[in-house]
Symmetry: C2
Subunit: 474 residues, 2 copies
């Protein structure tokens, strides 16, 4: 494809996406495709010779599009929002079209330096002190794995240069909470700590980590000869957006010399609002933190910001320096390959840069505030309706609800919950994610898709009442 053909088909792709974003609100939110249906429409063998673009566009319309659940739909209330604001999309288009890589600073200086600039912008926007340095990773799963690897190496005084985790006499222990994200446990297991050395600290009545339980666990481990190594606290858990008491946890971490990693993947976006920063009060006591600007804030996926207070430590664990990557500029520049797992690096800063510039901080703040207001309004409606309840505090944009008609409890209530949410999802009119809270199914209403306005939330609420309160399938 020549640049001129690219211009022609590029326009067509832009048109296709513009049309898609224009009409997405009219599509069923959740794909209606059954398992294997997309695959069955596609040939098993690759084409031997070039195919015309018209055929590709036809397949996009006929096979791919019906197989998608639409995350950019105004009635997408599932998981957490993964907003890809159109300015950010254009930033990513620039990155992909340029096709430059950041293996080292020299391999494309602007790639590294713009990443320094935008992570610094975000640091300021979130009110973090200048003690923090940031880098862009793909996801919070990776950022948290990096944090736990660094914690492991700090605790062993860089055992990776000796016997690794195999050379340790005293077991290293990681502390998480019942409501930590699944990726935290996964990261701890992948980092080699082992499930036996993972302490799942109990939560309190609002799904936040019990600091007394944490302290007890730490002291018990120390008494048993183990080495408390890392604590992962969360600002905005996945099930209920619960807020672990960061300041109190940081106090324990400081007292016992434990690495504190803060998972603010979701809530971090709200920290651009000064009125929300109480939620991670104590953040300056953490050693590392992750904020997914590809969630609520609106940067096109993937764009997870990982901040640390001691980059030297990170470098010591992650650094590689083969001859083919050395350059005369080393020592005077950041080589971001030493800040994470992969060597190769896209120009991801562009999508965050365009997002912030096109929206302005004020524009981003206004949208986050809109969503907070919508969640508050929605929670009020639910609380006021008979048989409905809001199951957890609503500090952010997720409202956890259950509809419990009189006489319905236990497994029957679970069946009712899963039934009405499944009917909503199948209707195509909205998308919701059910989840288990304290052993029982409930429904998470995660507000904050970029095009979601009050009327969408109101329509969802009407739909929920209709689906849950009628049919009486119990």
């Amino acid at each position: 494809m020549t640049p001129e053909e690219f211009r022609k088909y590029g326009y067509r792709v832009v048109d296709w996406i513009a049309d898609y974003r224009g009409k997405v609100s009219k599509l069923p939110v959740m794909a209606r495709t059954g398992p294997g249906e997309v695959k069955a429409c596609l040939p098993c063998d690759p084409p031997d010779t070039a195919e015309p673009f018209d055929q590709i566009f036809r397949d996009l319309d006929e096979i791919i599009l019906p197989g998608l659940s639409h995350w950019q739909h105004p009635r997408f209330f599932g998981y957490f929002p993964s907003n890809a604001l159109l300015a950010s999309v254009l930033g990513d288009y620039l990155s992909t079209g340029l096709g430059v890589l950041g293996l080292s600073w020299q391999s494309s200086p602007a790639l590294t330096e713009l990443e320094e600039v935008v992570t610094e912008w975000m640091r300021r926007m979130m009110g973090l002190s200048s003690e923090w340095s940031g880098v862009i990773e793909d996801t919070a799963s990776t950022s948290t794995l990096v944090a736990l690897l660094c914690a492991r190496e700090k605790a062993t005084k860089y055992g990776l240069s000796r016997g690794g985790l195999q050379g340790e006499e005293h077991p290293l222990v990681v502390y998480v909470c019942t409501h930590s994200h699944s990726s935290v446990e996964k990261a701890a297991l992948l980092a080699g700590f082992g499930r036996n050395n993972l302490r799942v600290v109990a939560h309190d009545g609002v799904q936040a980590m019990r600091v007394e339980s944490l302290r007890e666990a730490v002291e018990k481990d120390i008494a048993a000869g183990a080495i408390p190594t890392a604590i992962v606290a969360t600002t905005g858990t996945t099930a209920t957006t619960a807020l672990d008491p960061v300041a109190a946890i940081a106090e324990v971490a400081r007292e016992y010399g434990i690495w504190l990693h803060l998972d603010a993947a979701m809530a971090g976006s709200a920290m651009i609002l000064p009125e929300c920063r109480w939620m991670w009060d104590g953040v300056e006591g953490a050693d590392s933190l992750v904020v997914n600007v590809h969630k609520w804030l609106g940067a096109a996926f993937d764009c997870s910001l990982y901040y640390v207070r001691d980059p030297e430590h990170l470098l010591r664990v992650m650094s590689t320096n083969p001859s083919f990557l050395q350059s005369a500029a080393d020592g005077r520049v950041k080589n971001l390959r030493d800040w994470g797992l992969p060597l190769g690096r896209r120009f991801r800063a562009l999508k965050l840069w365009l997002l912030i510039r096109e929206q302005g901080v004020a524009g981003l703040q206004a949208r986050i505030r809109r969503d907070l207001e919508n969640a508050k309004w929605f929670a009020e409606q639910v609380r006021a309706a008979p048989d409905w309840s809001v199951l957890a505090p609503v500090p952010l944009q997720t409202v956890c609800v259950r509809h419990a008609p009189p006489g319905l409890a236990g497994d029957a209530l679970d069946r009712h919950t899963l039934d009405w949410v499944e009917r909503i999802n199948r209707s195509g009119e909205a998308y919701l994610t059910p989840a288990v809270l304290d052993g029982r199914w409930m429904v998470r209403v995660s507000i904050g898709a970029a095009p979601t306005e009050r009327e969408d939330v109101a329509a969802l609420w009407a739909l929920m009442r209709r689906m849950a309160e009628t049919r009486g399938g119990f």
Copy 2:
């Protein structure tokens, strides 16, 4: 930004990229920017209010573009090629614009199923048996880390569910070669094995792993009570594209029950040519392998294919299943979050799908063959010139050269090498990567950027002669 504004600015971005690709051959290949120069042009603070797109485009032209080294330039001979063919770029544009995520099959069925289809296409294209299943990871660094984590868990019978790597009595050992990629050592250290348990097996006269040395090391470790856990072999090393003897290594792996991971990140693209498959003869004896289709083949970065023969094993190590990710389809579908580190997943299959369809297998093969021919031609020129030598076999597209005028040796020769390559890079007329081979600097000429034709290689050769043979800076 509304969809209609996106259409307008999207056209402009497409134009900007089309113009860039059209004029890139006239730009200096390596950025002339000094450390900190890009940063110095950008404000420390984010804009409070929205900025006009015109200003963003001006900054792109004036600040970003001069700060880039151009990987899509026909005279880019550095590192390895990272081709972003324009059809693949458009595939990525679709992905970013759609903004859908593959947290689970249900969260966008076509995302998962198209990934199954294209990894299957590539499997067939590379002549691999149907025993292999593939998934898209970001980079080979990650793919290799995943492989070593799986090997670790297999060797400990899933110690992650008990004491992790901390619970093992006998040390687990990983075998690499002197010429393995830096990411392999990094992965072994991050996986917790420890440098003391990393055996760097010697290479032979053509930079390939010595199988006798491997066997000796394995037997010595077993005698000492250690557990040989993983071997990483390479098809196409970074320094010289050396080919480890996969069949013989696989025999050792089989005999001692060791996980064999094959790093074919670079050479894998050439496996779409039947005449090249002798290079990884024995591949069916490996347990896992990685092929970066974002390198030579032309998929826009990042697109690293990871194949395994036993997905159940992979799932057992990587799987998470929190309630909010469960759906009625589980059990009948692939949930790709269980195939790698991150939970979140872009629709990366689109960029590979469009690449293969727009080029056709024959088109991709023709370009790879062109590059192989160009490398062969270039090596012949070098060999025929006085004082020049080709330092390693040229099975693929990288030619390792040195210019050694009479009387020049040792450190003085190193200074000469680094001097002429630096002058070439600074000239902007071509980009080359120096590297160390057997303790001395040499220059890698890595042919295979998509727009590189014979005339570009010839021009490079003339430039090299001019720069190295004149000035007499020694």
